[in-house]
Symmetry: C2
Subunit: 201 residues, 2 copies
C-alpha cells in the first residue's frame, strides 16, 4: 500500500466516524430514567453495550458477547437517514414494515458505503444479522434492545406507556415476547415489575 | 443458587444499569460536530467504541479490540459522581491530578459496588487499567479518547480550541503526544489538518 492510499483509507474511516456523529441528534420516544428529556440513539446504543456486558450471564450458551457488542454499537446507525420509529406509537405498524426495511437498507448502503469496503461489508453483515434476529447473538442483542426502554419507563413512572396508552397485553406482545426469546429470566424479573406498575394504575 | 438469590443478582445488575443512565446527563466541553450542543459522556463513550471498531487496523500488534471496547464502554462511568474535567479548561490542571484521581476512585467504589462482586471487580480492573494507560490495550483506548474531540473541533471550526484559546503547541503536548503513543499514523493524519486549521487563524 502506498503512502497516499494509506492516507486515503484513514480519510474514509474518519469521514464515516464524523457522519456517525449525527446519531447523537436522533431522538427516540423513550426518555431518560429521570424523565428530563428524550433519549438519543447514540447514548441508547452505549447503554445497550453496558447491558450486554452486565447481563452476559443471562445469554444462552454459545452467545458471543463480543459479537453482540459489535451489533449493538452498529444497530441504529441507519436511523441517521431514517429516524427512529417508536414501537408503541400510532405509527408503530411502520416498525419493521417492508417500507421501513427498504429505507433502512438504502441508509445502510449510503452510511456503510462511506467506509473502506472491507470494513463496510463486515459492518453491513453484522447489521443485517441483528435485523434478521435469527442467530443466538442477534436474538440476545434484540432482547437487550427491547429491555432497556422498559427499564426507562418503569423508572420514569410510565413514560411512553402513558404517552401511547399502552396496555400490558400490548407490552407482552410487542416487547415481552422478544425479551423472553433471548433472556427469559430477565423477562420474568421485569414482568413482575411491569404487572405491578400496570395494576397500580 | 436459590431462586431468591438469582433474582437478587438481577436486581443488583439492573440497579447498576439504571444508575448508569445518569452518564447521559454528564456534559463535556466538546460539542457535536455540527456545534448544535455540547456532547454528553454517554454518547461520547458510544462514539469511541465505534472509533475502536473502525480504526482497529491502526492498533499496535497484540492489541485486543474486544478489551479496548470494554474499557471504552466503562471509562467515563465515574463521571456520574465527579463530572468531566475539560483538558483545555482553566481547571485543566485538575485533569489527572491526585485530587481528581482520589475522587474518581471513590466514585468507582460506589458505582461498581452496585454490581454483584464478580462483575464489579472485573469492571473496576478494566477501568483501572484504562486509567493507568500502560498496557497496549489501554494506550490504544486512550489514543481514541484524545482523538475524537480533535475531530469534533475540526468539524465545528475550532470548538474548545477557541473557547479555551488553545495554541497548537498546547494541543501537541496535551493531546497529540497521547494520540501518537497509541496510533502514530492517525496523529500524522490529524496533525496535517490541525496545523492547517491553526495556521489559517
Amino acid at each position: 500500500m502506498t503512502g497516499a492510499t494509506a492516507s486515503d483509507r484513514i480519510t474514509a474511516q474518519m469521514a464515516f466516524l464524523s457522519e456517525a456523529d449525527r446519531l447523537k441528534s436522533i431522538s427516540r420516544a423513550t426518555t431518560l430514567c429521570d424523565a428530563s428529556r428524550r433519549e438519543n440513539s447514540a447514548e441508547h446504543s452505549w447503554h445497550l453495550t453496558l447491558y450486554a456486558l452486565v447481563l452476559a450471564d443471562q445469554a444462552a450458551p454459545g452467545v458471543e458477547i463480543n459479537r453482540v457488542l459489535r451489533m449493538l454499537i452498529l444497530h441504529d446507525l441507519v436511523e441517521i437517514d431514517v429516524g427512529d420509529v417508536p414501537i408503541h406509537s400510532a405509527n408503530g405498524s411502520a416498525h419493521g414494515s417492508q417500507a421501513t426495511r427498504a429505507a433502512e437498507s438504502s441508509a445502510a448502503d449510503r452510511i456503510f458505503g462511506l467506509l473502506p469496503p472491507d470494513i463496510g461489508s463486515a459492518f453491513r453483515s453484522l447489521w443485517e444479522e441483528f435485523e434478521a434476529a435469527e442467530t443466538p447473538d442477534a436474538v440476545f442483542a434484540k432482547s437487550l434492545d427491547r429491555m432497556q426502554p422498559v427499564m426507562a419507563n418503569l423508572a420514569s413512572d410510565g413514560g411512553t406507556w402513558i404517552e401511547y396508552q399502552v396496555t400490558h397485553d400490548q407490552l407482552d406482545a410487542r416487547v415481552g415476547s422478544k425479551i423472553a426469546r433471548g433472556a427469559p429470566a430477565l423477562w420474568d424479573w421485569l414482568r413482575d415489575r411491569t404487572l405491578a406498575w400496570f395494576s397500580s394504575r
